[in-house]
Structure formats: structure tokens, C-alpha cells
């Protein structure tokens, strides 16, 4: 621990040198109810420096940046930018001072052009006209200087994820920011796109831009940053020059205690339980093919991972497999039986369980209680539904309490609305609902997105247990570590096409990345 200064107060001195920092944050504390999201955090940033804010989900990174950018107000602490204090500021003030932020979820309007998106907020709202040609010229200049290129007249919906991210960065550059915050910028990119992004960030930093990059991925942080600040449980636990840090120490600091993510042991796969044969889906409105000729097989005792940059057909695949979307062509087989008209309910009755991508919108009804949410999948089942129709509230509650105990869902009681649960507990509740009936196939779509390390470990071990008991699991995820760790086989999706399956063992992120950018796909343009 010698090389890391653990005391946040001395951190500034360690990195301060003689040049004054352009941004210094000191003693920031922010509470949400009883939870201290940020506790006495201090941080500084110099011109041309890339600082990584490292920590697992829920460590307080995003909260801190939201405070800096003016979305939240800190309970205490001060922020000083370019030598002047920044108090009670709004995002507008932050932007005016030269602080820009690229959010993890892009803040773009899909139906509007790139130019519109970039010009938003750059002119006074009450100006009776818009200087579009001036803006266009300036933007072209900026793109040229930064080595960035996007078609500024195309609507954002036609851009790839990587291009959208460049639009977000352009938005910041257009506003002359001198400090750029990037929140988990690599989460949606292929490893190759990550490389491009890092080259771009380096060149922007060399021209004087100061960058804060938020990440929970150690290797990326080591590759890009000059200095790394580690957060855990809302506190700064480490702050050091990246060149001087020991990778293992850093890893331990992020997690605090060593949480072991469970691993799968190889096991021979069983019989085929779920299969897609030559499945094609067209978009309802545009009739464009969004899922093309997909062949997929899931056998019992195996986890099949689906890799791909988001928006390449995984969502459609998931909705086909959950019965929400009927394929236009091809066959959908479950337990050897061809399903003519699959519906979510039919699939449930045939032993399919699903963990939807977005817990809040698709997984739970947040205004309903825990026990009611636990009933959602199987309405009309004895013993909760007497004679298959009349709700026995007492039995329902008892059953819920059992599940809550068994799956360790932390809550006050079973009557509490689900919306108040933390992400991890909400996911455990969804798993409880799905796994309690011992399904044969599990569709797990981004099962750990946004969860902290402890919850991720729980989710993984529940999935592995289910596999070991004989279930076949289709795991759709953007987290390559998760994918490689859990999957027996991996398939890659690109532009609605699916690759041949690859054995999970021995696969590297780089190999996957190549396929994710379409290398397998002959039809890719």
C-alpha cells in the first residue's frame, strides 16, 4: 500500500505538484435517506490529465459526478473550478464553466439530426432565430481538429452506438468544455471501439482537455488514465499515479473484501430443450429484417452466452424467446415441440423462465407489493388460487415469505411496494419468482446490469446452480467478463445475424470483439 496514498487529504499534495489544479473537489458528502452515497470525498484535476474514478457499482462514482455536474446538490463540501468556487450550481452553470459530461445512457433525441442535438442549449432560448450555418461550420472545424467524424445531418437513430458516443463528445467539445466527464464510456463498445475511443481521449488530453473517466473495469483504467482514484462505499480509498500502482492491490481496494465470483465447472451438456431454426423477424413498421435466419440451440446443463454490442438484435431475440414477438419465418422449438403461437404464458407453462433486461420496466410492478409481484408469472395456480380463480391472500403471503427468506431478499415485509427495493434485491425477487418453479430453460437478459459485486455473485451462483440442476440457460449480456466466466458456449450477434457457437473455454475478449464488430457476418456491410 506504500504507493497509494490512502488519506484523501494528502492525496492532493501527492499529485498537486506546483501547478494549481483546474478542478478541486473537497470534502463532498451526499446522503440519500440513510445511505451515504458520498462521504468526505476530495479530488483534483489538472490540465491535460486523465483521471480515472474507479469503483464497483454503487461505490458512489456516478453520484459524485452528478454533484459536480450540478444534477444533485451535495450536503456538504466545496467544488472549485478554474480557481473559482462552484456553489449551488445547475448543469447549465457547470457547462458555462467548461465542465461537460457524457452520460452512460446517451442523452440524445433519436429522431433529430446530429446537428440539432449538438446545437441544443448552445444558443439563448429566446433568440428568434438559429444560426445553423455558422454552427455547421464550427462543428466541422471541431471535428477536423479532434479527428472525429460523423455525418451531422443524419438523424441520431441511424447512427451506431460508437457514433452516438462521438456525438455526445462533440456536444461537449462544441460547448468549449475544458473538463470532460465520461460515465462508463466503454460499457456499450466492442474492445476495438474502446481502443479507438482511448486514442481519441489521449489526443484530446494532449491538447489540454482534462478528462475524468468513470469505470469499474480495472484493465481499461490502467490503459488510459494518468491517475486513478478508487472509491468504495462512498469513500476515497486510494489515489495514485497509474504508472506506480500495483494491479492486485488496486483490485483488492475496489472490492474491499475479496468477493469470489463463482465459476462454472465443465459438464457434459444434455439434450436439446430450446431451439430456433432459421428464425427471421421483420420490423412491424418498416418491414426491415431485424433478426435474420437465426439458428440457436440450448441444451440442458449448459449456459449459452450471447455476446454483441447492444442494438444488434439481442432485444428482438429476447422478445421472441419470451413469447412477446412471433417470428415471421422459422421454427421455435421448446422441449422438442414446435410452438406455432408462442405467448409468454404458454412458455411459462412449458417450463421457461425469463429475467427481463430492464428490471424496473419489464420485471416488476413497482407499485405492487412483494407478495403480489411474486404471483405475477403463474396466475391461477393452486394453492394460491383456489379453484384456479379465487385468490387466497393468506397462502400467497405465506408463500411469499418463504421465497423472500429462501432467496434472501432484504425488505421490511412482504407488503412493501417493490419499487423501494434496491436493484440487487429486486433482481433476487425476480429470480425467486422464476427459479422457484424449477424451470427447464432460463432466459437471462442482462441479469447483473447495474448490480454491485455482492449481488452479482449471488445472481451468478443462482444461475450456475440452476444449470447444475439441469436447466439450460441463455445468457444475453454486454459484460464480457461475465459472459466468458459463465458460458459453456458463446454465440455473437451482429446486425441481426448470429455467429456459429464457440466453446466458452479459452475464448478471449479480443476474439469476441472481432466477431462483435461483424467479422463472422458475410452480409455485414
Amino acid at each position: 500500500m506504500e504507493s497509494l496514498s490512502v488519506n484523501p487529504a494528502s492525496a492532493d499534495i501527492a499529485s498537486g505538484d506546483s501547478v494549481a489544479p483546474i478542478l478541486s473537489i473537497s470534502g463532498i458528502t451526499k446522503r440519500f435517506g440513510s445511505l451515504a452515497a458520498n462521504q468526505n470525498i476530495s479530488l483534483s484535476l489538472h490540465t491535460g490529465e486523465i483521471v480515472a474514478l474507479l469503483g464497483e457499482n454503487g461505490a458512489g462514482k456516478t453520484t459524485l459526478m452528478n454533484i459536480l455536474f450540478g444534477h444533485y446538490r451535495a450536503d456538504s463540501g466545496t467544488i472549485e473550478a478554474f480557481g473559482e468556487p462552484l456553489e449551488q450550481h445547475s448543469p447549465e452553470d457547470a457547462l458555462k464553466r467548461g465542465i461537460g459530461m457524457v452520460h452512460q445512457h446517451f442523452t440524445l433525441a433519436d429522431n433529430l439530426s446530429v446537428l440539432d442535438n449538438i446545437m441544443l442549449g448552445t444558443e439563448s432560448l429566446w433568440q428568434p432565430f438559429s444560426r445553423r450555418s455558422v454552427a455547421r461550420k464550427r462543428l466541422q472545424q471541431i471535428m477536423q481538429d479532434a479527428g472525429l467524424n460523423v455525418n451531422i445531418d443524419s438523424p441520431v437513430r441511424d447512427l451506431t452506438v460508437g457514433e452516438r458516443q462521438r456525438v455526445e463528445i462533440l456536444k461537449a467539445l462544441y460547448r468549449n468544455v475544458r473538463i470532460l466527464i465520461l460515465d462508463e464510456p466503454t460499457a456499450v463498445l466492442t474492445p476495438q471501439e474502446v481502443d479507438d475511443l482511448f486514442v481519441l481521449l489521449r489526443s484530446m488530453a494532449s491538447r489540454g482537455l482534462a478528462i475524468i473517466i468513470i469505470s469499474h473495469k480495472l484493465h481499461e483504467v490502467l490503459a488510459i488514465s494518468d491517475r486513478v482514484v478508487v472509491l468504495r462505499g462512498g469513500e476515497v480509498v486510494g489515489n495514485a499515479e497509474t504508472a506506480t500502482v500495483d494491479r492486485n492491490q488496486l483490485a483488492e481496494m475496489i472490492v474491499g473484501r475479496a468477493v469470489e465470483r463463482p465459476c462454472v465447472e465443465a459438464r457434459p451438456a444434455g439434450e436439446e430443450i430450446l431451439a430456433l431454426r432459421a428464425v427471421t423477424v421483420r420490423d412491424r413498421a418498416t418491414h426491415r429484417i431485424i433478426l435474420s435466419n437465426i439458428d440457436l440451440q440450448v441444451r440442458s446443463h449448459e449456459i449459452v452466452g450471447v455476446a454483441g454490442v447492444s442494438g444488434n438484435g439481442q432485444a428482438v431475440l429476447a422478445s421472441v424467446l419470451s413469447g412477446l414477438c412471433t417470428p415471421d419465418e422459422g421454427e421455435f422449438l421448446l422441449q422438442g415441440e414446435t410452438l406455432k403461437k408462442p405467448s409468454p404464458r404458454l412458455l411459462t407453462s412449458k417450463g421457461l423462465a425469463r429475467i427481463p433486461e430492464d428490471r424496473h420496466t419489464d420485471g416488476v410492478v413497482s407499485e405492487m407489493s412483494l407478495w403480489e409481484n411474486l404471483l405475477l408469472d403463474e396466475l391461477g395456480q393452486e394453492p394460491v388460487w383456489r379453484m384456479g380463480m379465487v385468490l387466497d391472500r393468506r397462502t400467497a403471503r405465506q408463500q411469499a415469505c418463504q421465497l423472500i427468506d429462501e432467496y434472501d431478499v432484504r425488505c421490511h415485509n412482504e407488503e412493501q411496494p417493490v419499487g423501494l427495493l434496491s436493484g440487487g434485491n429486486m433482481q433476487k425477487l425476480i429470480l425467486a419468482r422464476n427459479l422457484a418453479r424449477d424451470p427447464d430453460v432460463i432466459l437471462a437478459n442482462q441479469p447483473t446490469r447495474g448490480l454491485d459485486e455482492g449481488a452479482i455473485a449471488t445472481v451468478h451462483s443462482l444461475l450456475i446452480d440452476a444449470r447444475n440442476r439441469g436447466a439450460g440457460i441463455l445468457l444475453i449480456t454486454e459484460d464480457l467478463d461475465e459472459l466468458l466466466r459463465l458460458s459453456d458456449r458463446v454465440v455473437v450477434m451482429h446486425d441481426g445475424h448470429m455467429s456459429e457457437s464457440l466453446p466458452g473455454a479459452g475464448l478471449t475478449p479480443r476474439e469476441l470483439g472481432l466477431r462483435m464488430s461483424g467479422a463472422f457476418d458475410n452480409n455485414a456491410t
Partner: protein
């Protein structure tokens, strides 16, 4: 040949344009609200309130221009009420809209009854008079059809390009469109979503109220109970029909007005065989048909009906 006779008469085209005037104002008003992400079902009531207040202003000795401004102010206030429910508090846009419609129309009727407790036939005022555009109005056919209308009617047609310009060519229009597409994008650029949406709803409601007022101070000369008679709901349908574009909204309003004018004339000719109720039904039925036609390719503003709460999802 009856139908052809109607179509080639200048009075039919003049009537079309006259009838379109309130529809244009109100449809544009609704369009602005929805473009900013707020469905304003208060439209029927706001039009009633506009009709009442415009008429009242003139009845109390005010001038006609003042009446338009007064109606607009009343509309804007009702819009503010709507926005404080649906935008600031994020409450149900459906229920709020219906509530505002009930409130605004019953208040309007209450006020009329208060002021004129005994009158059975509503008192008349002197409305906007037709202004003949010099030279153009003396053109054969076109002169009568297009260039002999009240100033408010001309204004309606003038408002369309203005709204188009505002929506597509000003920073505020851009902010408004983004408020209806992805409000988080506004917040991220340091623009207050609540303020943008509130102003849009107020502006839209003001236009609706002017649309209502155009009935009492331009098309007719008195305030009747139930005079809006579903025009507001038709405008909501027209906005969908127009795919949220001002140009198409103008077209839709003209189409409907034409139909209405046609229906009245057909009634006189075919009334003997077909009961008049079926003619009166046409605008409502066609509004539904219009929505069905565009349903498959309707591209709603993405954030329509979605309340925005600050700091959420960031």
C-alpha cells in the same frame, strides 16, 4: 351533378376557409403541447373558455383585438393550470385534461348564467367583419373564396408558417421538440425541462382559446351553450392525422372544414333521403377513420405522456 355544383361554388370554398379557422388555431395549439410531450385533453374546455371570454370582452365594450388577447390570456392561464399538474407534478395527463375540460366549460357556463340570468336568446355582439383584400378580392371565384374573410381567419393561415418557423428554426422550438422526444437530453444541456414544457402548454392552450374565440367573435356573433361541440376532440385526432407536423395540420384542418361545409350543403340537397344526423356524424366518424389510416405509421413524440421528474434516470 349536385356534388359538382357544390364543389364549383365559391361560397363552398369560402365556407371551408371560414370553418377551418378555429380548427387551425386549436390543432396547432394541441400540436405544440404534444410536441413538447404533453397530451392536452383540456382542449375542449379551453376552447369553450376562449369562446366565452372573447365574447365577454366585446360584450362588455372591449375591442375585438383585445378580445383575442384576453381569450389567449385565459387560455394560457388554463394551460398553466394543466402544466402545473402534468408537468410540474407529473400527474396523469388523461385525467387532468378531462378535469380541465369539465372545469373550464362549467366555469364558462356559470359565468354566462351569472351575467345573463334571464336571457333565453344569447345577446349578440358585433364580430370581426370580412375584409376584402384589395384587387385580389375582385378576382372571379378566387376573390370570394379566398380573399374576403375576417382578419382572424387570415391570421389563422399566417400562424401556420410562424409556428413552423418557431418549431424548426429557433432554439426554443428545438428545445421544445427535444422536450417531447427525450427530456433527459434537455436536462443534460442545462435546460429546465419543466419550464420548456410549461411554456409550450401555455402557448398551445392560448392558441386553443383563440380558436374558441374565433367562433364567437369571428364566425358567429354570440355565445351558445355546447357550441364547441366536440371540435376540440376532432383537433386532437387531427394532430395524430397530421403526424405532429404543422403543415399537415393545416391540410387536415382544411380537409375537415371542407367536409363540414360539404356536409351542410349536401344536407340541403339530399336531406330528403338521408336524415341530417348522419351528415352531422361525418366529422366525428371521419376523425376516427383518419386516426385509423395513420395508425400504423404514426410516429408519436417519444416522450409523449411521459412525465419528467428531475434527476430521474441520470
Amino acid at each position: 351533378m349536385d356534388i359538382l355544383d357544390i364543389l364549383i361554388s365559391a361560397s363552398f370554398w369560402a365556407a371551408t376557409i371560414r370553418i377551418a379557422c378555429p380548427l387551425i388555431f386549436a390543432t396547432l395549439g394541441e400540436l405544440i403541447c404534444e410536441r413538447a410531450g404533453v397530451l392536452n385533453l383540456g382542449i375542449e374546455g379551453i376552447m369553450t373558455a376562449g369562446a366565452m371570454s372573447g365574447w365577454l370582452w366585446v360584450y362588455n365594450g372591449g375591442d375585438l383585438i383585445g378580445a383575442v388577447l384576453f381569450a389567449a390570456a385565459v387560455g394560457a392561464m388554463l394551460g398553466l393550470l394543466h402544466a402545473s399538474f402534468t408537468v410540474s407534478l407529473g400527474l396523469s395527463q388523461h385525467v387532468t385534461g378531462i378535469g380541465i375540460t369539465l372545469l373550464a366549460s362549467s366555469l364558462s357556463y356559470f359565468i354566462i348564467k351569472m351575467l345573463l340570468p334571464e336571457s333565453t336568446s344569447p345577446p349578440k355582439i358585433v364580430p370581426f367583419q370580412n375584409i376584402d383584400v384589395p384587387i385580389l378580392s375582385s378576382l372571379p371565384f378566387l376573390g370570394e373564396a379566398l380573399f374576403s374573410h375576417t382578419p382572424l381567419t387570415y391570421t389563422a393561415f399566417l400562424v401556420v408558417p410562424i409556428i413552423m418557423y418557431v418549431l424548426y428554426r429557433t432554439p426554443w422550438g428545438l428545445a421544445m421538440r427535444i422536450a417531447g422526444e427525450n427530456p433527459v437530453a434537455l436536462e443534460a444541456q442545462g435546460i429546465d425541462v419543466i419550464r420548456v414544457r410549461t411554456l409550450a402548454v401555455m402557448l398551445g392552450s392560448a392558441l386553443m382559446a383563440i380558436g374558441g374565440a374565433s367562433l364567437t367573435i369571428s364566425a358567429f356573433d354570440a355565445f351558445y351553450f355546447g357550441m364547441i361541440n366536440g371540435r376540440g376532440w376532432i383537433c386532437v385526432a387531427l394532430v395524430i392525422f397530421a403526424s405532429w407536423r404543422p403543415g399537415k395540420a393545416l391540410l387536415g384542418a382544411l380537409l375537415f372544414a371542407g367536409l363540414d361545409a360539404f356536409q351542410v350543403r349536401m344536407q340541403q340537397q339530399a336531406g330528403a333521403y338521408i336524415p341530417y344526423q348522419f351528415f352531422l356524424m361525418l366529422p366525428y366518424v371521419l376523425s376516427i377513420v383518419a386516426m385509423i389510416i395513420v395508425a400504423r405509421r404514426a410516429e408519436y413524440p417519444k416522450a409523449l405522456l411521459k412525465p419528467y421528474r428531475r434527476g430521474e434516470r441520470l
